[in-house]
Symmetry: D2
Subunit: 340 residues, 4 copies
């Protein structure tokens, strides 16, 4: 009974969350610094607790711990990649539940962003996991002035006199929970627990579902991006610190194996690993299972239908694991069943 | 000199092609039947010759040779997959040139389309090249009534009482030329010569560039799709015969290694092979080279910029080779140089 | 100076270790039980400390925690996969060092071994990371009587009247240390820290080098195999508890990025991840670097030479990460330099 | 009836072929030159016909058409890669049959071999199909003096004063037939029809089974190797012209989907494509099917048994498709059924 109510509330909330209910909600504020960030998703003392109606207001450092500030700065200044704000203890979350993170507001918290090419990182050059013996490309840093007026960042070429404005689409490159089975994973890695998914879907208007593996889920976030291309092929987005406003709900008893996104129009299943072929297989088998369980189509009907109407978003192919998101517009699906 | 003129003409034509010039152009008509189709991209006697101003009006059979017509029909009726209309000899095309195919009009030439699940074909089940020893899924055929009034096809679930309309987006799943180095390739395979790319970009509003490997290029086409999801994961789109209207121009001296698409807003490089990781690498190294040569950015600046603004379209992961298309909006690029 | 001495000692010890020195060495005995095993490679209180001359005598449970004992037993009885004996604190080991594990004796500690096919595990069927939507294969368990007389295990077919003897080659499927960067990893996963490598090279006559990431290295072991085919394709070897006798030396200041094996005749570099293509790239770039640093060939000469004389052992393609070992016979290399 | 006889004869012949029967057999001699070689596996006029008892004596040019003769020679001198001797029309071979090629004698036909590093080819550097944007490695050529006295070739390092002898193991890097479905494939590509498999198993003592796709099979061979490391990682073996002596038998009605090898001790199934993961899946599903059909084990028993006793040979990971060979010793199998 309770399950049913929560489930309906969840479905509704996705559409209505940005409007008005927040005013009444208590706000939990937490300020992260280079001294308090973490570099691992795992079990650690929580920095704050979030109740079911709480709104979290916090901040994230950029992927370099805000270490790159001027053209002469180098990656040697960076103390650790992807410093994480958290963990936040989600009240009521128990293993076997899912949590739903609603992104209420994400704002770039700097007047410039950073792009960097680091030898050993990128889709078109040697990496630790696809090593080659050719000479490495040199390190390079691009700074992107942020213009709040027209909501853009500016790319300025190094080797020619060209600049262009890029519209901002702020999102959290890293968001995840403590992993299952007692594992602790680097903030550079995405996996079943979320993490460094570099998914532009982690942004306002979308809800992210994550599995709960430990009491309180232990939510971490970081690696803000002002804008990113599909695949993040050179290894970075426009890296920025963010001001973050979000809300987390617990969905009791909803066991999910991989992260999921949802918005007013779409359901989206995330596949994470390598090669991309297997990411795609994970994402689509999860999406078919989701459709089968929540919308009632047979697996083979869902397979056939997705072959005609699905969309695929390649989030990134540069982290130790890659991320592919398989999506379908809800308008192509039967009505959702009352409970999931 | 001549090169320069052709090149400008080409750039302009992409934007203006659908408007009025066609009326004056001579029309070459060719009608394909099950008796005249081919099943291999290679050197064969041409069925017609196309001059630089000619417009081709022809037709393609569906991927099953139009063999599936009613619910009780099975894939055993199919004589050969992806029957191809052609080859068309493109006058003036020599090895080392490229041809630019403008899709002027593509119309579904049937009152129904076909979707089929064939054991051994699909992204989420055993195939010839990713074989598993689990029991196979059974063959299944879905028929999709086509509604010309609202320009949709209807999916009707097999295992439940659900149907939904899908908007039509007709395109040629197969389009390619005779391969290089004396090879001849099956109509099921996409590769450097194009072929079974299953790219929804092979549609009105886009221009496709293909390398020329033999005199006359020898253009083939087939496998019309009324609509398709990214990845074509169950192995088929809504398969239909098409009425085709297109024009082909020769770009002298433009050596390209892989197919490319272009429209008013975007340039798009195609990567074809497996795994998807390598498709992506091919597509993006080609796109970087294209930007470097035609738009003047350094390779490293292009790499960085694409990491912020590129988009990726996964066309299919079900044919013997997979297809990924890397794209960038021209608004993010410097002005194009006068010649390529 | 000290470095030099240690290094020579290490080289010598590989050849001479099995002969006589052990008698004088102190023996550290530790008995592992289902109550004391671990399921994660990470930082945990050590169960014993090993000095530079100590010999460890211990035991490992089989991959199923010794839960499968008779034909009617099922995998539902298994409490956790790959229970690990340890961790052992290696005295003097500091981050930036390597440890060298010499396998002195490994004996099957049971009168039967277990082979199991578990749905979701295997190279030729759906898994969590290469999921398919076909029906799963059923769970199956094969018991292998062990014959100490002729040192064999017997395969008995389920579906026909056929049995055959298989020679024993006991090795530790799991052996690894606490990972770097604060990570903790499941006993099912192999990675840079070693772990579930399923490498038959973890056996008497070989020495395994592992990187040290935390003080004391924290060595774990388990998952004994009585015999295994290349690739371990159905997901299990002949799984057995083992009696283990080994010695661990610290190689100060030898920073290695991936595990390495060495014996009297060969040096062997391990590559771990997926797909196999990348395993191979890791293994061979590591082997080239090893040859370059310790034997003085240029990288390009080493690349060329390995293309003529290297051997490759595919250890397994069934764990979450795959394992490939690239080897070269020392007879093809210049004399080793005095220090590493 | 006839089938049975042929089958037994074939089984026997594998063991006894090198002894004496050849003397009575008619010998077909054919001398290949740079003028008569082919660069494509496909349908072409045969250069000779081989009857069931004929022994073919012929020769192959090296992978560079014998163009590299002295240290100052460069790859620019090469007219085409992997020139092929043939095709030979195998009398009685019809689509649906297999042919069995017995390698009777292979001799290096030169006083030196060639190793070359060509930018764009190799497992640890950018290639056409795994492109990177890093600077390329330079072209390099190593010459290997052949010593018939001790049956070795000598590697001489470029960048240091080191040389070492490598034992000869001559084999045909290329051997294949006209492909199915009207395809014609480059001599650089291995696939279902065999081709550039770079399998050291194509050597004396082994028999190669190839599918027959066109009347007469049309057998081609070339790309002799004096010795090669597993994976052929830098892109070449010790490349040599060969003197070839072999015999071909037709196995009527034996439909095989991929090449197979067999010798006195082992049956071996070849998997060809990319990534290696899929090569392995192809090789092992074929080997399981072979065991099931010819030796009577159930598929699941064969899967389990191979997980304990199979061996894997990675032939190459540098050609456009990769090659993995899965093997099992016949001593682990039930008696072979009388007919296959």
């Amino acid at each position: 009974m309770k399950l049913l109510v929560l489930s309906i509330f969840f479905s509704v909330s996705i559409c209505a969350s940005t409007v008005e209910a927040q005013k009444e909600n208590p706000v939990v504020k937490y300020h992260a610094t280079l001294e308090t960030v973490k570099y691992v998703y795992g079990v650690a003392p929580s920095v704050a607790r979030l109740g079911p109606d709480d709104i979290l207001e916090t901040n994230t450092l950029d992927a370099f711990g805000d270490a790159i500030q001027k053209p002469s700065d180098t990656l040697a200044l960076v103390k650790g990649d992807n410093p994480l704000t958290g963990p936040f203890f989600i009240e009521g979350a128990e293993p076997g539940d899912a949590i739903a993170v609603e992104f209420l507001n994400l704002e770039v918290n700097s007047s410039q962003g950073v792009g960097a090419f680091a030898p050993g990182f990128g889709a078109l050059n040697s990496t630790d996991y696809t090593p080659m013996i050719q000479p490495a490309l040199p390190e390079r840093i691009w700074l992107y002035p942020i213009h709040s007026g027209d909501n853009t960042a500016t790319f300025q070429a190094h080797d020619s006199n060209f600049s262009v404005k890029i519209p901002l689409h702020p999102f959290l490159g890293c968001i995840g929970v403590a992993p299952a089975n007692g594992e602790a994973r680097s903030s550079v890695v995405p996996a079943e627990f979320g993490g460094n998914m570099d998914a532009s879907e982690s942004s306002v208007g979308n809800t992210l579902l994550l599995p709960v593996n430990v009491p309180g889920a232990l939510l971490y976030m970081g690696d803000g991006h002002a804008a990113m291309g599909d695949g993040e092929i050179a290894g970075t987005a426009i890296e920025v610190p963010l001001r973050v406003r979000l809300r987390v709900r617990v969905i009791k008893g909803q066991r999910i194996e991989w992260p999921r996104f949802e918005n007013q129009n779409e359901i989206m299943a995330v596949g994470i690993y390598r090669p991309l072929d297997d990411c795609l297989r994970i994402a689509f088998t999860q999406l078919i299972q989701w459709i089968h369980q929540d919308y009632g189509l047979s697996e083979l009907d869902a397979y056939e239908l997705l072959s005609k109407v699905a969309t695929v978003h390649l989030a990134e192919m540069v982290d130790p694991n890659y991320v592919v998101i398989a999506k379908v517009d809800k308008k192509y699906l039967p009505p959702r069943k009352a409970s999931h």
